[in-house]
């Protein structure tokens, strides 16, 4: 699973969207997408219960006239800024205003369409809402990228974003929106899934770092073995995740059946054990490859100087070679963490737990809201991890380069 590009580092070439006769090209595209969402697709879907197909409703059908007009007017102003204005802060402000307006419209619509004390009907965001969200999200991303914030500012923006979303959810603004309804029913399972999800991603990452870092150092020291090790890890990487889970079920099951100690430690053919092992295996290549690349980047003169100054081999490795390779190694860790957060979802198929439980449960019951309850936090988690580690890498690189 890849994370959205919002707040991530971008190559310089993508920063300045070219303008055509004074009209911003990206702005024009986003305006088209947003307008299509607003006028051609339903803003919300009204469902008599959680698994019935929705009854599409437009913005004007679910909001009081004045509110719908305010909404349209704001979005028109946002489009004008997106099309004509080159000032990045103004573009960001416009995008945020648009996001607030559609979020409030969604909450208002959900409140209006839900009869009091009714726990059966569902008001789900419609395709129109999602398109608007995507268009405005991209506009905000683009604006932030144009402002070129430093690593610290990006982390601050992330915290601010998560804080605002968290507070709004805690306040109950969206309680009548279908996904939050689904959450209300599953709140204790959600907390458990979140814990499992984070534990599985970080646990497999931790285990991978413990093995891959020494393996990478070894590959660097023994260049003749390097191609062999890397291509072996590469082959693992090409096995589809579900197949790998399947492959691991048999040996782990056998291990549990024949070694009481393994069974006592919680190792089973299904559940968390094969999930952790599979994620661990997937994590090895990026960390080993980046460790090798990072160490290769350290100039031999620097290493010779370190030894010549009287550092021991271990001191040289730790405080010179690894210290200098750290940004590259962290980039590998970032790839693995984001990848794992996505892959853990699949682990739910073999009983590994995590947000995937909701996704596959939802698919099984044809309950879109449940799928979203699993998918949205996964995306947010992956995205936050990417922003944090990117910022860390850039910070280290800035000091050291």
């Amino acid at each position: 699973m890849s994370s959205p590009g919002f707040l991530l580092r971008r190559p310089a070439s993508a920063r300045d969207a070219p303008a055509l006769h004074g009209i911003d090209r990206l702005g024009a595209l986003l305006t088209l997408v947003g307008a299509a969402g607003l006028f051609l697709l339903p803003f919300v879907a009204f469902k008599a219960n959680r698994i019935l197909p929705g009854d599409p409703r437009g913005l004007e059908q679910v909001l009081p006239v004045w509110a719908a007009l305010t909404c349209w007017a704001t979005l028109a102003a946002v489009a004008a800024v997106a099309l004509l204005c080159a000032n990045a802060s103004l573009r960001l402000a416009a995008a945020l205003a648009g996001l607030v307006v559609i979020a409030m419209a969604l909450a208002t619509a959900a409140n209006a369409l839900t009869p009091p004390h009714n726990r059966i009907v569902r008001v789900a965001p419609g395709a129109g809402f999602w398109l608007l969200l995507a268009a405005l999200g991209l506009l905000a991303t683009d604006a932030i990228t144009r402002m070129r914030p430093g690593p610290r500012a990006r982390v601050l923006l992330l915290v601010l974003f998560l804080g605002v979303v968290g507070l709004t959810l805690a306040h109950g603004t969206f309680d009548n929106v279908s996904v939050m309804r689904e959450y209300a029913v599953n709140s204790s399972a959600f907390a458990l899934a979140a814990r499992q999800h984070i534990l599985l991603s970080l646990g497999s990452l931790g285990a991978a770092v413990i093995v891959a870092l020494p393996l990478g150092i070894f590959c660097h020291r023994a260049p003749r073995l390097q191609p062999g090790v890397l291509s072996a890890l590469n082959i693992i990487q090409t096995i589809p995740s579900i197949a790998l889970f399947g492959i691991l079920m048999a040996p782990l099951g056998a291990l549990a059946a024949h070694v009481p100690l393994a069974a006592a430690a919680g190792i089973r053919g299904i559940g968390a054990a094969p999930a952790v092992v599979a994620l661990f295996l997937y994590s090895l290549l990026p960390i080993v490859a980046n460790t090798v690349a990072g160490l290769k980047r350290v100039s031999p003169a620097t290493v010779e100087a370190a030894l010549g100054m009287g550092m021991t081999r271990w001191q040289t490795l730790r405080s010179v070679e690894l210290a200098l390779a750290l940004p590259v190694i962290l980039t590998g860790i970032r790839i693995v963490l984001v990848q794992n957060i996505g892959l853990v979802t699949v682990a739910a198929l073999i009983g590994g737990g995590g947000f995937g439980t909701f996704v596959f449960g939802g698919i099984g019951q044809a309950a879109t809201d449940l799928v979203l309850l699993g998918a949205i936090p996964t995306v947010v988690l992956a995205f936050s991890a990417a922003v944090l580690l990117d910022a860390l890498v850039e910070r280290l690189d800035r000091v050291r380069q």
């Binding site: 100054m309 009287g310 200098l324």
Partner: protein, 316 residues
């Protein structure tokens, strides 16, 4: 004093250094010179055991270098390499403090030493301490490399082509600074170069190497006047040997007493620290037979004639 006893290094069947023996006096500046691949670096790196010898041994102040672990030995020996090898992730001050930190000096002492060294190498501590190596010029980086090597007050300093990456003008300045530092700290310096001019300019003694063997090890003027073999002769430049000889003596050393009449009014004036080669060049240029030598204060202290200079350009 460093005693090198039939030191040999083999890589497989190839011999990088072949039974080299030499004695390096305390407080001297010894230059090892030779063509590329002649084993200079290998010889130098066997002194601090970055390279372990195949056979032979090294004694520093009478003590076998094998009698302690390599890393503690290296903390007592300064080491400077071409391209300086500064740690790019550490500030200038942190770079200089490397060995004192390894030796667990007190912070106050480290700070004082770092500032003293940076100042001695004409890098204002207030300006440069917190900078990173990439923010410095090549010449400044090179000086930080020397400061780092001298930080723990080593009695011996090994330098492998320390000025190789510098342009000619900065290089000359760096060479002068090195001579100053050697005088100031009394360090025993062993320097590797493949630049024969640098060897003659810096070395109290020069060791000429070829294909792993030490061909000749002596004072520079002996290398010119009595080369051990044709390779040394070719290296010291047979066509230029007279000029090279002149460049080894300063005007002050060769000066004749001032004439009683105070010398000719319009005679060219040269500094006592200029080499005879420079004085001769000046006299040729000015079409004069005689030069007045002045000391640092500009006071005349002697004179030199073309005939006197020419006499110095012949093997005695």
């Amino acid at each position: 004093m460093i005693v090198i006893e039939s030191l040999t290094k083999r890589y497989g069947s190839a011999t990088a250094v072949d039974a080299v023996s030499m004695v390096i006096e305390r407080n001297s500046l010894t230059v090892i010179v030779g063509t590329s691949g002649s084993g200079k670096s290998t010889l130098l790196r066997m002194i601090n055991r970055l390279v372990e010898p195949t056979s032979g041994r090294v004694l520093i102040e009478g003590r076998d270098t094998e009698s302690e672990p390599g890393h503690t030995l290296r903390r007592r020996i300064g080491y400077v390499i071409q391209g300086h090898g500064l740690f790019p992730h550490r500030t200038v001050a942190e770079n200089v403090a490397t060995v004192p930190r390894l030796l667990k000096w007190e912070e106050a002492r480290i700070r004082a030493r770092t500032e003293q060294l940076l100042a001695a190498l004409q890098l204002d501590p207030a300006l440069y301490s917190e900078k990173y190596p990439h923010q410095l010029s090549g010449g400044q980086q090179q000086r930080v490399g020397v400061a780092r090597a001298l930080a723990a007050e080593p009695a011996v300093l090994l330098m492998d082509e320390p000025f190789g990456a510098l342009d000619p003008i900065i290089r000359e300045k760096a060479q002068d600074d090195l001579l100053d530092i050697q005088r100031k700290f009394g360090t025993t310096i062993v320097l590797v170069t493949h630049d024969i001019d640098e060897a003659f300019r810096l070395g109290d003694r020069v060791a000429v190497m070829s294909e792993g063997r030490l061909l000749q090890y002596d004072r520079p003027e002996v290398l010119v006047t009595r080369p051990a073999d044709s390779i040394v002769a070719r290296m010291t430049g047979s066509a230029e040997r007279a000029m090279r000889l002149l460049s080894l003596t300063t005007a002050g050393e060769a000066a004749l007493p001032l004439a009683s009449d105070g010398g000719k009014e319009d005679a060219p004036v040269v500094r006592a620290s200029a080499s005879l080669r420079e004085v001769l060049s000046e006299l040729l240029w000015r079409g004069s037979e005689i030069a007045t030598i002045v000391d640092e204060n500009g006071t005349p202290c002697g004179r030199l004639t073309v005939a006197a200079i020419l006499a110095r350009g012949r093997p005695s």
